[in-house]
């Protein structure tokens, strides 16, 4: 297995929101799988933090969930972004970009 890094604190919510936004409707395993694949196995979402994070996002009203069927006709719980969730994702992305740009400026040799 390749070397994995911890997902930086505070970015997991943003990653989940972004992932769900891309796929319209996704279930938990898909979300974790997608993040892992897209990051080329660098980022791995632990189940121990994925599910509490999903609950947190639902409490805040950014995600909704409903039961559905996979293509293989298996039951799964699908998450969907709400309007508030879209706004939140936008905010978080902007904030993230500001912060990384600032950090980048500091780290870049002048």
């Amino acid at each position: 297995m390749s070397k994995r890094d911890e997902i930086p604190y505070g970015t997991l919510d943003m990653l989940i929101l972004k992932t769900v936004a891309l796929g319209e409707e996704m279930h938990g395993f898909e979300i974790a799988d997608w993040i892992q694949n897209q990051s080329e196995d660098v980022l791995r979402v632990e189940e121990g933090s994925l599910y509490p994070a999903l609950q947190r996002l639902m409490v805040n009203g950014w995600l909704t969930a409903k039961w559905g069927r996979t293509r293989e006709n298996r039951r799964a719980r699908y998450y969907k972004l709400t309007a508030a969730g879209k706004r939140q994702l936008q905010n978080e992305l902007e904030q993230y970009n500001r912060v990384t740009a600032a950090i980048g400026r500091i780290l870049q040799p002048a």
Binding site: H27, G28, E47, Y51, P52, Q55, V59, R74
Partner: protein, 921 residues
């Protein structure tokens, strides 16, 4: 809003758990599928997937956390655990709850009673707009009394008032013409004061019973804002109407008690003091208006001459008969009304007789409506008493809090190990402190509920007793005693604070000692400090409860004395017949004289009767005093010398069994013309010390025209009625021959006085059924004397609070010793291990724990001596022996209880297994 989502979650909790579990299971399945696809065999794929997923339980827990308020969840846990801990130690839990409940309950009850009895408003609609009116004259004393003409002058002229009312004082009236007379003796025996023998009811003859009436201005009810339950009030009638058809209102209480709610009573005619009145309405139950007792009848003031035809005080401006109240007009403040009234007092004063004090300048004083005739701050004695009681119950609360503190300290010391384990398992100190706080808060809360319920129950019982405290003919006392929630909250807060504070000390103590470095020790130093505090608290509570109990004891002995002292006359075999003629009926002097003579002849014929005389009994009411001068001196007006005197007939001394010590008795039938007196032994020694009093002369009264009397005999002293006993010095003057109509009849009997009293009633009824004839033995009269009544009531109050104190003190001692034992388990273990006997251990603990008790006892003794001096006024016939009995008796009682309270827990110390105790090292 996520609050709503969270609340919704609470409702769908089960569904949530199911969904989450399902979701996690599916996740694991996906993972296993993926693993199988990559070539892993079935069972291993399953296992690996599950292992990768981790602890589903914890995951569920942390997922759920997102949806709930964590503090709420933890508070729930704390509560559940708190309850479990409280139930695990039922002994100390019940002790704590009882202690706190006593403290809270006693305070709530006292403050509620204070508000119900002392700080009570008028019974009126919008009572804060009602004011009492008084006048302050030169001396600075407020005079709350007005005459009817004064009332008329003020009534119409003050615009700040929206109605002014007047009321007289409740009085005893005879009631007749209502058909069958109920036995008031029976009613009396059912009333508390009747049972204690503190009042004797007027026992009617055949047709007469006694009732209570209150004279009020006609607008009384409309200004107070109360409407009748049935019928109408006086204002529905014109003045002329009222005089032509005299009307009264009846109280619902009396209507129910006497007429069994018979609706036909409205419109019926009753006779009050012999005069006919029509009942025009029934006032609502428990309506007391400007008083604290419900009268049986309200009588309009314009009809006062009907019930007292002999005097005409309605027109007399100098006759201060009544109290005055007013309702403030809308938007007018008390000060504005007072200012407006100031402009009028000079004018009204000028209408008075210029020699009268009432014509002197005065300024009006208005204060918020209260049944008390004076502003409360003018009752020095009352305020002091209330203050003392408040201090006493306040002490009870302090003591209660101290007790709970001891119990809490003891408990947490015993729980050190548990707390240590919890900390090593990862509980934060804050979490533990919170847990302990929850427990003490819970304790305080339960105690508060118990206290509120028991205070409420207690007050209900007292009030029900109070309602029946007076016989029917005195009216019904009314107190509203819904526990005062303001006070309750305050007291509950105080006790919660106390229990939390003392819950905190051990919380910090134990959380600190739970640090690994101090794992071995029990952390001694700070606890030593709180031990001293506890000793001090125990000593204080012992001292105070001891004082209260000793005071109670002395008062009880004093009241026993008042009943059993040598009176100097035969109080058991003499009956007092207090004959009363109906005022309204046509009884001329001659007719009265005939009746009394006839009665006396018939009574004398009764079997067992040996003597009959007409005189006030030595312990009856109506003491008379007179100024006097000796041996022909000119009487001086300044001289403050008064002496008590009594009119007697020549056979008075034989009838009451009072021996003459020297000289001779009165000559029978000589009347007053003899100009001779008999004096009591004490009077003789005071007036003519060292001389022979026989043959000396004295003048009674201030006028030189009055005759001088020659002392012809000296009678043995009789016991006085006044609290200072001054009336033991007495002059007996012979009763004029026609004076018998105004005197009670005293009958001496050889047979059973109770049987004789029945016979006497029968004879009175046969002579004239309209006569009222209360009878009692002289001994019964004795229990109505102020000295006796005061000491009985004071004894009840002091003993109750004292017993409460004793109870709390013993609980406190128990708690302290319990704590001590818990603290010293290790030490006791070591002592036992190196060979100490159980006896030694118990001795050691008893010695330590009784030290503050002894300290408190000594302090209490000193306080009691002080209390003894304060109480001298109300004590009768006490000697050093009584004081000694009370002091030693109560102290011994205390000591025994204290020893018992410390012996029980100290025995536990001896059960310490030395090995267990030492293993702590």
């Amino acid at each position: 809003m996520n609050v709503w989502r969270k609340l919704l979650f609470l409702l769908r909790r089960k569904a949530f758990d199911r969904d989450l579990a399902e979701e996690m299971r599916i996740h694991v399945e996906f993972r296993a599928d993926r693993l199988r696809q990559s070539g892993m065999d079935e069972s291993e794929a399953d296992l690996t997937a599950r292992r990768a997923f981790g602890n589903t339980m914890r995951l569920g827990e942390s997922s759920r956390k997102a949806w709930t308020w964590q503090w709420l969840e933890e508070a729930g846990q704390d509560l559940r655990y708190g309850f479990r801990v409280l139930f695990k130690n039922p002994g100390s839990t019940i002790l704590s709850i009882l202690t706190l409940a006593l403290g809270i309950g006693a305070n709530t009850a006292t403050f509620t009673a204070y508000k119900a009895m002392v700080a009570r408003p008028l019974d009126a609609r919008d009572p804060t707009r009602m004011v009492n009116i008084g006048l302050t004259r030169g001396s600075g004393v407020t005079d709350p009394l007005f005459s009817y003409p004064d009332y008329q002058s003020y009534r119409e002229s003050i615009h700040s008032f929206n109605g002014v009312v007047l009321n007289g004082f409740p009085e005893h009236l005879t009631l007749s013409g209502v058909g069958e007379v109920i036995s008031q003796r029976t009613a009396l025996n059912n009333s508390l004061l009747g049972k204690l023998g503190l009042v004797t009811s007027g026992s009617g003859s055949a047709n007469v019973e006694f009732t209570s009436g209150l004279i009020v201005s006609e607008n009384y009810f409309s200004v107070l804002g109360v409407t009748p339950l049935r019928g109408r009030t006086f204002e529905s009638m014109t003045a002329v109407d009222l005089t032509a058809n005299p009307a009264v209102l009846i109280s619902e209480n009396f209507w129910q008690k006497r007429f069994a709610n018979d609706p036909s009573v409205v419109g019926k005619t009753v006779r009050l003091n012999g005069a006919p009145f029509t009942v025009i309405g029934v006032m609502p139950r428990d309506f007391v208006g400007t008083f604290i007792a419900v009268p049986d009848f309200w009588i309009p003031i314009s009809l006062e001459p009907f019930i007292h035809p002999d005097h005409n005080w309605l027109r007399d401006r100098e006759n201060q008969c009544c109290r005055m109240y007013a309702r403030l007009a809308d938007g007018v403040s008390i000060n504005q009304a007072q200012a407006e009234m100031s402009g009028l007092t000079g004018y009204v004063g000028g209408l008075h007789d210029s020699h009268s004090d009432l014509s002197k300048p005065a300024s009006p004083l208005l204060w918020t409506g209260s049944p008390f005739p004076l502003p409360l701050n003018q009752y020095g004695g009352l305020i002091t008493t209330i203050l003392l009681i408040m201090v006493a119950v306040g002490m009870v609360l302090v003591v209660a809090c101290a007790n709970v503190a001891s119990i809490q300290l003891a408990r947490s010391t015993a729980r050190q190990n548990e707390l240590r384990i919890r900390m090593s398992l990862g509980a934060s100190r804050a979490r533990i402190v919170r847990q302990l706080l929850t427990e003490s808060g819970l304790l305080g809360l339960i105690a508060g509920i118990v206290a509120l319920l028991s205070a409420w129950a207690f007050l209900r019982i007292v009030v029900t007793m109070a309602a029946n405290i007076l016989p029917t003919d005195f009216g019904t006392l009314i107190f509203y005693v819904t526990p005062d929630l303001g006070i309750f909250t305050y007291v509950l807060a105080v006790s919660l604070l106390a229990s939390i504070l003392f819950g905190l000390v051990p919380a910090f103590e134990s959380s600190r000692s739970a640090l690994p470095s101090s794992l071995k020790g029990n952390g001694g130093a700070p606890i030593g400090r709180s031990r001293r505090l506890q000793d001090l608290l125990v000593a204080t509570q012992v001292a105070i409860s001891l004082t209260l109990l000793i005071a109670g004891g002395i008062l009880i002995r004093s009241s026993m004395h008042a009943l059993n002292t040598e009176t100097g006359y035969d109080d058991k075999r003499v009956i007092d017949l207090d004959l009363q003629f109906p005022e309204g009926l046509n009884y001329k002097r001659e007719r009265k004289l005939t009746i009394v003579r006839d009665l006396r002849t018939r009574l004398a014929a009764l079997p067992g009767v040996t003597d009959i005389t007409s005189a006030s009994p030595p312990n009856g009411q109506g003491l008379k005093v007179v100024k006097f001068s000796l041996n022909g001196e000119r009487p001086s007006l300044q001289d403050k010398q008064f002496i008590f005197y009594n009119y007697v007939q020549s056979n008075y001394f034989d009838t009451l069994g009072i021996p003459l010590l020297s000289g001779r008795g009165f000559r029978p039938e000589s009347g007053q013309n003899d100009h001779s007196v008999i004096i009591s032994d004490s009077a003789a020694r005071e007036l003519w010390p060292g001389q022979n009093p026989i043959g000396q002369t004295l003048r009674l009264g201030t006028d030189e025209q009055y005759p001088t009397y020659e002392v012809i005999g000296v009678a043995r002293d009789t016991l006085g009625v006044t609290t200072n006993g001054a009336d033991v010095k007495k002059v007996y003057v012979q009763l004029p021959l026609d004076g018998v109509t105004s005197q009670p009849i005293l009958i001496r009997t050889e047979t059973d006085p109770v049987q004789l009293m029945k016979a006497v009633q029968g004879i009175v009824a046969s002579v004239d059924p309209d006569l009222a004839s209360p009878t009692s033995t002289l001994q019964e009269l004795l229990s109505q004397t102020p000295a006796f009544t005061t000491s009985v009531i004071a004894a009840m109050v002091a003993s109750t609070i004292g017993l409460l104190g004793l109870l709390l003190a013993s609980m406190g001692i128990y708690g302290t010793v319990n704590y001590l034992v818990a603290l010293r388990t290790r030490e006791v273990g070591i002592r036992l291990a190196i060979g100490a006997q159980k006896r030694d251990i118990i001795g050691l603990i008893l010695r330590e724990s009784t030290r503050p008790v002894f300290l408190g006892l000594v302090a209490g003794m000193f306080l009691s001596v002080g209390a003894f001096f304060l109480l001298r006024g109300v004590l009768s016939g006490l000697n050093a022996f009584d004081a000694l009995i009370s002091f030693i008796g109560v102290s011994l009682l205390f000591l025994v209880i204290a020893l018992l309270a410390s012996y029980l827990p100290s025995r536990r110390a001896t059960r310490v297994d030395p090995m267990v105790a030492l293993r702590c090292e």
